[in-house]
């Protein structure tokens, strides 16, 4: 208690800029930065939702908005900081996906810097650097970044970390010290929540879908656990240099998260908006390209690009129909979605291309439309889209 409530100087707190721990932190973050340089998008549980939302936001930028495409858990109003940063990148000539990658990278770097500046005041440079690195490799950060794709929350935690940093720096100028013991008590809970979850049976699920940890709780816990990490480094200093312990701890964290559940990617770049979202974020029809005209006897080819945002319990069947007046069918094909690769085997975030062919009847009327949708073959029940319709219209005349 005495230690924790003592003046900062006796705790080894350090003021001023020291380049080496700062440089070490940036080098320690390099793997995470590198993982965002893939020329595409990670296979995250939100799929390309951030990308679609970004396009909509860019069309009409605003300070507060409700994203048109749902991101779980749904938050009604967002501060589109992530989009704003991505927008700057796009304004400089980058691609939208590149902008979002840049935004995510910057959020992680800034958050880690925030943690560093926050704890440096209390625990010293190297323990603070350790805490920042361990935060960056924590399950919450890695899951948010590479498995969920929740860019907004990465920015949220960056903001919180900087508020703490500014508070700590303000406290320094007032020669008052934040209550270290309070932080450590919070931190103990944070450590248990953040890292204890990984010890739970089937812990790998904590990093991927369905990611049972509540985003806010786990993310907050990860941030809160940072002082405990710094404290650990301080305690272990008689064993080894703080910077060595810091990197051993960071390596352990990275092994538990990134190595255990490596990010996967896709080079696919979707159109600015999806064709349809089926079910409750179940399956996204990213694109549908129609080739051929519905002339009598002709074959229409539909090349579809799908993405699952949840594991699928059902092997869905796709129906494609050429409809005339009174919804009379003039050509159709029903086949398992994904063909030989049924939807129950699709990985969350995976992009799957599937092709359908419809032979149009010999005597088609002039008024036609082409629709497609999904149904459960065993119940014949169609899966509605998020607009409530049970199909999506791809073409009409």
């Amino acid at each position: 208690m005495a230690i924790l409530s003592a003046k900062k100087a006796s705790r080894g707190g350090e003021a001023g800029f020291r380049p080496l721990p700062f440089l070490a932190l940036l080098l320690g973050l390099l793997p995470i930065v590198a993982l965002w340089t893939y020329p595409g998008w990670p296979r995250v549980a939100t799929g390309y939702t951030p990308y679609f939302n970004f396009h909509r936001w860019m069309a009409a930028p605003s300070l507060l908005w409700t994203p048109p495409y749902a991101v779980k858990p749904p938050i009604p109003v967002h501060i589109p900081l992530s989009n704003a940063v991505a927008g700057i990148y796009v304004g400089l000539g980058g691609s939208p996906l590149g902008g979002l990658r840049f935004s995510a990278t910057l959020a992680i770097i800034l958050a880690a810097l925030g943690v560093f500046l926050w704890l440096r005041e209390t625990w010293g440079h190297w323990p603070a650097m350790a805490a920042a690195l361990v935060w960056a490799y924590s399950p919450a950060t890695i899951a948010l970044a590479f498995h969920l794709g929740h860019l907004g929350e990465l920015w949220l935690w960056a903001g919180v970390a900087w508020m703490l940093a500014l508070y700590a720096m303000g406290a320094r100028t007032r020669r008052a010290v934040p209550a270290g013991n309070t932080w450590l008590a919070l931190s103990a809970v944070g450590v248990i929540v953040t890292w204890g979850a990984l010890l739970w049976p089937g812990w790998d699920g904590w990093l991927g879908y369905p990611w049972r940890g509540y985003t806010l709780v786990w993310g907050g816990a990860a941030l809160a656990s940072a002082p405990a990490v710094a404290w650990t480094v301080r305690l272990a200093r008689r064993w080894a240099a703080a910077w060595l312990i810091a990197f051993i701890l960071a390596a352990i964290a990275a092994r538990l998260t990134l190595v255990a559940a490596p990010p996967t990617y896709s080079q696919y770049v979707p159109p600015p908006a999806p064709v349809a979202v089926f079910g409750d974020d179940a399956l996204v029809l990213l694109d549908a390209q129609v080739e051929g005209v519905p002339a009598p006897g002709h074959i229409i080819t539909i090349t579809t690009t799908w993405q699952a945002l949840q594991p699928q319990a059902i092997d869905w069947t796709t129906f494609t129909q050429v409809l005339g007046p009174n919804d009379r069918i003039w050509g159709q094909q029903d086949k398992p979605t994904g063909g030989d690769y049924p939807t129950s085997r699709w990985q969350v975030g995976e992009v799957v291309i599937d092709t359908y062919e419809i032979t149009v009847d010999a005597a088609v009327p002039s008024s036609l439309r082409l629709i497609m949708g999904l149904y459960n073959r065993s119940t014949l029940q169609r899966l509605p889209t998020q607009t409530g319709s049970d199909h999506v219209e791809l073409w009409s005349r």
């Binding site: 080894g12 350090e14 020291r18 080496l20 721990p21 070490a24 080098l27 320690g28 390099l30 793997p31 590198a34 993982l35 965002w36 340089t37 893939y38 020329p39 595409g40 010293g124 440079h125 190297w126 690195l133 301080r234 200093r237 008689r238 064993w239 080894a240 240099a241 703080a242 910077w243 060595l244 312990i245 810091a246 990197f247 051993i248 960071a250 390596a251 352990i252 990275a254 092994r255 990134l258 190595v259 255990a260 490596p262 990010p263 996967t264 990617y265 080079q267």
Partner: protein
Amino acid sequence: MWNFGRAEGKSLPGGILPARVRGEEQAANVWQPWRSGASFVNTPPASWMWLALVIVACVPAVLPFVKPGYFWNANDARHDAYFIFEYTRALRDGNLYPRWLPDMTFGYGYPLFNIYAPLAVQVGVLLHLLGLGVTQAVETVFALSLILSALAMYAFLRHVLGEGAASVAAVAYAYAPYHLFDMYQRAAMAESFAFVWMPLVLWGVRASVQRPFPRSIAGLGLAYAGLMLTSNLVAVTFTPLVAGYGLVLALIEWRERSDLGRGVRGILAAALGGGLGLALSAWFWLPALLEFKYVNQSQWYGGYYDFRQHFVYFFQLFSPHWGFGISIPGPDDVISFQIGIVPYLLAVAGLIALFKARTPTRVEGAYFALVAVFATFLTTGASLWLWDHVPGVAFAQFPWRYLMLTTVAVSVLVGWGIHRGAPRSTLLPVSLIAAAVLIWGSSPYLYVEVVEPLPEQGPVGLPALMRFQASEDEMTGVTIFAKEIPRWSGLAEIMARGQDVRTRVEFGHVERDPALEVRSLEYHSSWERVWFRAKAPGRRIVFNVQMYPGWTAYIYDATGTQLQQVLRWDELDVTDPYGLVTVPVPEGEHILILRFEDTPPRKVGKGISVLGILTLLGLLGWEVRSATARGPANSGNETPHLP
């Protein structure tokens, strides 16, 4: 700028380690050869505990090879097995060093071991001759290479960083993802075995520069020769690193002792050691260098092997993704080109240590940091200009091969972190923890894909070898004399039935020539004796053997006693489209011997190697004499002087 003084007791941030601990204990912990007079052989007595730690630490990485079965689908697993198989066949046929493998390229043969370094295969052959099966021999070579490479790194670094740090660096080296990738996925036997020699060469250079004793030079020569004979590709890519290291060490010697002559002597000794290594291995590399131009190089560097298709994306250097497959263009390789997040982070700790150090070895560490950065840079597309314009860079074939150098440098840096970061009192637990984290970091990668062989893979034998060549277009190298790459042959048909080839004479050609009669009298893997009767001048005997320097025809009289004509390879004809050796024969009845024999480069290479061996023996003799003259107290086995 550099402070070459003794380890200073500069405190760590926040007074984490007191100056006394950091300075004095650290100095006592580390054997400092620049002060104690160490050399390649004159090393401190091994601490069996650390040595045992390194060996035990290697066990998990070796275990995948203990699994019954063979990793047939690994990239070069079939090549490894068939190289050993073919080498053993030639050896049993009396050919001690088979530069020519007669069963490659559907029986038309290929000068594989004239251009491809043989040592790793020879170790496999030895194990096979000792009773292991071919696939077991391959797996044992990999297991040995892993353990020996870790021991080699330990042996090198314990002179630089002390035993604890050296042990951790050895574990980092053994468990580096690229090292595991080379073994488990690529099944690159030569490159994996080269991991053994690289630290030994560095050790030799260090010893030669700092204490230019004959034994140091001899040790460097042996290590460099070992590397060259294991993988000429690795030797070429690694040599600039070694040369730079020697220069850095010489510079340290010069600055530390204010004696330019000492630095010059050191660098000359290292150059002598390197030269000795080149001499000892000249019997291989000289013909390889001069006669590589006679093989179709597009099969080595063209098409799929075009380096432009295989640059590593930046994210791949850190992506922990792991899988089995081959290198493909683009960012979506199934296989991994990662440095490894755990070794990387511990290497950053080593980098921090460099900033904090005040000893001469700091410059050495900085050099390895530069090597890590530059070698990694060479793996990426950003280095394209260097690949296109700097001679030798493209010799690596695949850009990601430079991860080999990154692995060496990163391992050294990992050791540096332990060296500076762990005080003597806690060196053991900190080293154990660091080693455990390194092993744990690579634990998801510790497996091989053991599968039953497909018909085109095994079981190892001539029929499967032919099926392998036909199905995969592998081991089908051609020489520049071939206008076409064969897809099958009559010889392959025979071998595919499990029968031995009894002659290489192309009897289809003989049958079409009524003025020619030919009968094979004796056949071996590198020569054949035939009887022929040519009823008219201008007849030619075609052999189902690819033309290549070394094929020589001896034409005797009918009794086989009187040599009448000798035709060197450049005096022989070639039959299209496969560039087959064709001997123009004189009219009448004669005996012809066609033999694959040494060319002038091979003879000169052998001569140089003999000189190298004599020099080596001379150096060792000189060393023994010097040691005897110095007496037992200074014989080189004394405990080194510790500060």
